[in-house]
Structures are given as structure tokens and as C-alpha cells.
């Protein structure tokens, strides 16, 4: 595993089980500031669990997760909430608050965590929605949005506090290729323009190459390999090769 200088995120020998079912076993990786790291894996291999552990939504059974110097498992509730302000989280289905409009979804964290005047908050909301192409849908309710729009709105909300770290859960899943490409493009632009540190989980490696400097492959809860996209594409392991190429090429015969 390649060592990254001055890591902003350190996941060190983390294990997690739900009841008697182990989901992650001894997973370790590091992500440097401004780097894009992508976790690949088949469905049900613990990719989303890894992200939720990183933001402290779940507690690891063993190991440690350090974000910008704070060990997430050891923080008290108040400090944990403070640390989360540094992290944006884009949920797989957007997870928008369905009882309030799109603009209110974005204004909500700004009103909670900043003392900005209402006029400025409205401007920021409009600006963030414009970045994801939803400026005309300000007053729509989440139920009136398509899957792709919800995802883009979820991304805008995750970025509304300008966090230096962004965790992204399956950015392109369930979307048509055009919308998926738009979202991946947005993430790439974000990384290049603002230097945001990105950690994304996906099984569609081909599309995340634009912003993924390195990739890691999770299989049966273990991080079996990590490296640059090129290194993974040249791997002797067929599963790694297929995941790293985004499923292009020949089909894989399932062994387990």
C-alpha cells in the first residue's frame, strides 16, 4: 500500500460487524489533502459503511479513524459535531429533507452554523444550486425532483458550508449515463478548482477516473489492494482489473 505524505484522513485497521456479521475487517488507507480516493467494490462489501464510519455515523468495533487530526471514535458529542462541519456527505439518494423545499434544504445548515444575514444565505443557496444546474428549481419540494436532480441537490447541500472534505456515496448509481457524467464532472471540477479532498465509493471506476488519484478495492470487507487507477488496471487479480476498468471487457465468473 503506498504511503501518502501528510494524510488528511487516516483509516487505520478498522473493523466493523453488525451483530455476528462482519462487514469490514482490518481496513486501512490514507488520503492526503486535495487528493481524490475512490473505494471500489461489489455491492454489499462495506463501501457505504466505510463512509459512515469516517463521518462518525457508525462506530468502529476496532481500529481508528483520524480526520484532520481528530480521532473520530474518541471525540465527545460536541466536538464530533464540530468536526463534521469540515466534512460534506453526499448520500446515495440525496437524503433531502422531504418536508421543506430545495432552497430550504440548503439554507438550513447555513442558518444553523453561520450568522450570515438572510439575504446572503439566499444568494449562497442560489449560487450552490446554480453550480449543480438546479437554480430554476429553488422552490420545488424534494418529492417533485427526479433521482438525478435529488442527487445533484444532495451534492449542493453537502457543499453549502464549503467543507474541505467531501465523502460521496455512489455518485452515479441509478442514473442515466448523461446525468451520471454530469455529477462526476461536477466532482472533478470541485476537486480541481477548490482543492477539495474527495473520498467516493462506487462500482463504476471508469467514470470516477477524472477525480480519483488513487483507488482501493474492498472485497468481503477487506481492502485487498490500493493504488493508482493504472496500477489497479494492470493487476493480476481479475476482480480488481474488472472493477478498476469499470466493468468494461470480458465478464467475470463469480468464484465466491
Amino acid at each position: 500500500m503506498r504511503h501518502v505524505a501528510e494524510p488528511l484522513i487516516q483509516v487505520d485497521h478498522v473493523s466493523k460487524s453488525f451483530g455476528r456479521r462482519p462487514v469490514l475487517e482490518d481496513v486501512s488507507f490514507e488520503v492526503a489533502a486535495g487528493e481524490g480516493f475512490c473505494i471500489l467494490g461489489k455491492s454489499g462489501t462495506g463501501k457505504s459503511v466505510t463512509l459512515k464510519l469516517m463521518i462518525g455515523l457508525l462506530a468502529a468495533d476496532r481500529g481508528s479513524i483520524v480526520i484532520d487530526g481528530d480521532e473520530m471514535q474518541k471525540l465527545d458529542r460536541k466536538t464530533l459535531l464540530e468536526t463534521r462541519k469540515k466534512i460534506g456527505f453526499m448520500f446515495q439518494d440525496g437524503a433531502l429533507f422531504d418536508s421543506i423545499s430545495l432552497s430550504e434544504n440548503l439554507a438550513f445548515p447555513l442558518r444553523r452554523h453561520t450568522s450570515k444575514p438572510e439575504k446572503e444565505i439566499r444568494e449562497i443557496v442560489r449560487e450552490k444550486l446554480a453550480e449543480v444546474g438546479l437554480e430554476k428549481d429553488l422552490n420545488k419540494m424534494p418529492a417533485d425532483l427526479s433521482g438525478g436532480m435529488r442527487k445533484r441537490a444532495g451534492l449542493a447541500r453537502a457543499l453549502v458550508l464549503d467543507p474541505p472534505i467531501l465523502l460521496v456515496d455512489e455518485p452515479g448509481s441509478g442514473l442515466d449515463p448523461v446525468t451520471a457524467s454530469e455529477i462526476h464532472g461536477l466532482l472533478q471540477e470541485l476537486k480541481e478548482r477548490q482543492g477539495t479532498t474527495l473520498v467516493a465509493v462506487t462500482h463504476d471506476a471508469a467514470r470516477v477516473r477524472g477525480f480519483a488519484d488513487r483507488m482501493g478495492v474492498l472485497d468481503h470487507g477487506r481492502m485487498i489492494v490500493s493504488g493508482t487507477p493504472e496500477e489497479l488496471a494492470d493487476s493480476r487479480d481479475e476482480l480488481v482489473r474488472v472493477l478498476a476498468s469499470g466493468g468494461e471487457g470480458k465478464n467475470v465468473v463469480c468464484k465466491s
Binding site: 460534506g88 456527505f89 437524503a95
Partner: protein
Amino acid sequence: MAGIHLKIRISTFLETAGEFGLFSARVARDAVRRPFEIHEIGYQIREIGSRSVPLIIPCGIALGIVMSLHTRASMVRFGASSLIPATMTIATFRELGPMVTGLLVAGRVGAGIGSELAGMRVTEQIDALESLAIDSFKYLVITRVTACVLALPILTILMDFSGLTGGLFSEATVSHISATLYIHRGFAAMGWSDYIPTTLKTMVFGFVIGAVSCFLGYTAKQGATGVGHAATRSVVLSSLLLILVNIILVKLTFFWFS
């Protein structure tokens, strides 16, 4: 085989009861810690309290009419029809008002809170709140429980007076008693111990309704099925607990205000 099932059921019940105990203790602890989310509590009081008023008032009036009809049928047999207003007032203020209000709110609000929070849980909205550095427990649970605790006594007073109005209407129609005489007779036998403890005990009812429905919603699992279960169980469990807690509260009221 049946023995194993019973063991599992008992174990699950004890586990859930323990979790609920810890949840309630966390509610009691976090309710007195900053931030107090005053704005959201106000919103929840409007949602839980104001929106229950259209249910409470007609139910109270109907209950008062029915109670009055039953009381008259019994009292007339003993030549004690002049005691009808006092009987009605005591019964309404001491027991019927608080209990019926509690059960009505458990039905309307319990199901609402249970399904709303469960829906938020299964669609990751609670996780989203947390990811935005917002304490979801304080924002969603404490506010709703506090609103239930504060709204229940107010709704109970409304229910009490609606019941008396229904009773007065019924009596005035049957026996042509004047409103002044009805009120005079009704409240002559009442003391502060008949109003205060019985109304304040509904704050405990509010806590039970809020805590049970928030617990079932906040900890919901199993997708859409979990939402349905949370809504149904919120009503059933909070109603059941309300009735059981009432026995203890009545006993305590008699002990302290004998």
C-alpha cells in the same frame, strides 16, 4: 420449540425495554442541556397542540353529552339529579378529561411522530442531519417530547371545558337548568387538588406519548415496513403505557392530595 420462541420473545422484550429506558434517560438528560431549540419546540407545539384542537373540542362536547345522559339516567333513580353537575365536573376534571385527551393525542400524534421519524430514518434524513453537524436527537426527539409535555395540559383543559359545555348543553335541554346554576353546582364541590394534580399528570402522559413514539420512529429499521410498524406500535404502546402509568399517577394523587 415453543420454549425457545418464548425465550427469544422474552429476551427481545427485555432488550427493547432496556433500550427504551436508556432512550428515556437520554431524553431527560438532553432536555435540560443547551441548545434548547426553542424555535423548533414552538413549531412542534403548533403541530402537536394546535392541530389537535379540532379533534379535542368536538370529542369533549360529545363526551360531555353522553356522560350527562348516562349520569342523569342513574341519578334520577336515586332522586339525586341536583348532583349531576358536580358528578360531571369531578369525573371530567379528575379522570375523563386527562385520560381521553391522552388517548386521543396518542392516536393522532403518536402515529404521526412514529411514522415521520421512521420515514426519516429509513431515507437517511436523520443521518443527513447528523452529517450536517446537527444533533438529530436534540433537534428531532427532544423538541417533540417537550412539545408533547407542554401541549398535553393545555389540550386537557380544553377537553375538560368542552366536556362541561357538552354536559351543560345536555342538562339544559333535558332539565332546563340555567348555566349559572349548573356551573355553581358543578364547581361547588371542587378544590384545587381536583384541578392541579390531575391536569399536571398529563405532562407525564405527554412524556410517555412523545418518548414512546420518538423511540420507535428514531430507532426504526426494515425500510417501508419499519415505517408502518413504528406508526402502529407508537399508538398501541403509548396508549397501553398511558393506561398503566395512569394507575400509578392516580394512586400517587390520592396519596399526596388525600
